[in-house]
Amino acid sequence: MINRSKAYPYLLVAPAIIFLLVVTLYPTLYSLYLAMTRTRMGVMEFVGLRNFRVALNSTEFWQSMRNTLVFTSLYVLLTTVIGYGIALLLNRKLRLTGLFMTIIFLPWVLSEITTGVVWRWMFYQDYGILQNLLGPLFGGYSFIARPGGAMGIVIAATVWRSISFAMLLLLAGLQTVPKEVHEAAAMDGADGWKAFWKITWPLTLPTTIVTIVFMTIQAVNGVGMILSITEGGPGRATEVLGLLMYRQAMQFYNFGYAAAISVTLLFLNLILAAFYIRSLNRETALAG
């Protein structure tokens, strides 16, 4: 091709890059600056690390951190374990696999708010269908009104909505386990559990780690469903970091403080992204 065509690829890539710079990168960097300011009477002033000091010394920040941790660990544990189980079953090539996949996937293509409204209904105080079903088993326990119960609901709802993610990643991993390996194991008399722990599990461990890190990233950044089901309540029992950030910004117009939480989330994400890329590289290295 002729010389002037050298400019073409750049012209083609430029618009997309510019959009990402303006909408994603610049605001993220701007949050670093915003986190070091305070707005009073419409005037922004530089206050250094004050917002971070305020956050680190406040109980609400640490409670949100704790909630994020509880939410994330249970969400990751449940999506991975259930996702792995379902993937194992679907890997057997059943006649209805397509239908099963469609249904398991469905909640994820629905909005967090529509599904949140439904989950909230199911746990209504006196007439919610799941409240009526499960309440008596727990001695009339009202899930949505209690801190632990509310956390349970938001975890159940978010796990329900994103199980397909873990399932799909793990199924892709399972499908890379060559059939011959299983046949060889069967010849050696390894069956069921033994074959699983000796062959399938070690071979899919890299994919499992990728899934765990990926689901962790999802959990740390998940707010929509919690907002629509409990709005962080009762009290602050389900207020994760993202929700604390939302309330500080949109209810108290405390943008500096909200940005400090954004920055905290950014660092969490950077650490997780590093883990993620490492786990992906290890997975591809083993697969290749």
């Binding site: 059943l94 209904w121 950044n221 909200a258 954004s262």
Partner: protein, 275 residues
């Protein structure tokens, strides 16, 4: 197949069917509630008398029709921006060798890993300084950018599957790369473009947290955010109406998902793994 294997398969199928029933129950349940007569939402799971009145009410007065219109504008606008920009970029990344290509690829990957949650508050602050809050432009730009990385990954695969001979034939006929792109490559990639557009449409349509922050004026809100307001007002006394609003918002996503299931799944795995 041995009888033992048959029994195992039967058991697995039964288990998966039960699991799927549990998974789909909340969706079906919201549909059933939406057909209940007023104040009958929680008397029985299946309506004793079916009614369509909540849907008629939703669309005959109040803010809901406006919210739906807004959602359509935001979701289509954003999807057009994402699809067109990612098509251009994906073509360059799939077809040309150029300095900085690796850098461009890693930049897009990095942007994909920065969640919207982190940037949405600064975007609000910046947009408020630029007097862009509560405008169609702002949310269309933001949605447009959100969809670019996934669009590039989907379309790159499409462009790579088209034989390079086709572009070269066009070049020999004297076409510039841009002409070759529009006249030869783009028409063949139409299914990929439509899939990218529709997937992004669904993501935008469903988005709740970003428009909640960036659009606060009532008549500019998206349906998802409007539903959040409805939830506060209607819950406990007009649950059937609330359910109807939920169902209306769910339907386009359900239909598009069933039509494009494989694209959604591939986009999900590739976005996560090849990312």
């Amino acid at each position: 197949m041995t009888t033992q294997n048959k029994a195992i398969n039967l058991f697995i199928n039964a288990f998966l069917i039960a699991f799927c029933v549990i998974i789909i129950f909340p969706v079906i349940y919201s549909m059933l509630v939406s057909f209940q007569e007023p104040r009958m939402a929680f008397h029985s799971i299946i309506p004793e008398r079916w009614t369509f009145q909540h849907y008629i009410r939703l669309f005959s007065h109040g803010l809901f029709p406006r919210y739906i219109l807004n959602s359509i504008i935001y979701a289509i606008g954003g999807a057009i921006v994402s699809t067109s920009l990612s098509a251009l970029a994906a073509y360059a990344l799939a077809r040309f060798q150029f300095k900085g290509k690796t850098l461009a690829n890693s930049f897009i990957l990095a942007m994909m890993m920065l969640p919207g949650l982190i940037s949405v508050i600064p975007i609000y602050k910046l947009a408020s300084d630029l007097k862009l809050l509560d405008t169609y432009t702002l949310l269309i730009i933001v949605f447009g950018a959100y969809g670019i990385p996934l669009g590039i990954w989907i379309l790159k695969a499409f462009f790579s599957s088209i034989p390079q001979v086709l572009d070269e034939a066009a070049f020999i006929d004297g076409a510039t790369p841009i002409q070759a792109f529009f006249k030869v490559i783009l028409p063949i990639t139409t299914p990929g473009l439509i899939a990218t557009f529709l997937i992004n449409f669904v993501y935008n349509w469903n988005n709740f947290f970003t428009p909640l922050i960036l659009v606060t004026r009532t008549n500019m809100k998206m349906a998802t955010v409007g539903l959040f307001d409805f939830q506060h007002v209607l819950e406990g006394n007009q649950d059937e109406l609330l359910a109807a609003a939920c169902v209306v918002i769910m339907i386009p996503s359900i239909i598009l998902f069933i039509v494009l299931r494989d694209y959604f799944m591939r986009g999900m795995v590739e976005g996560a793994v090849k990312g």
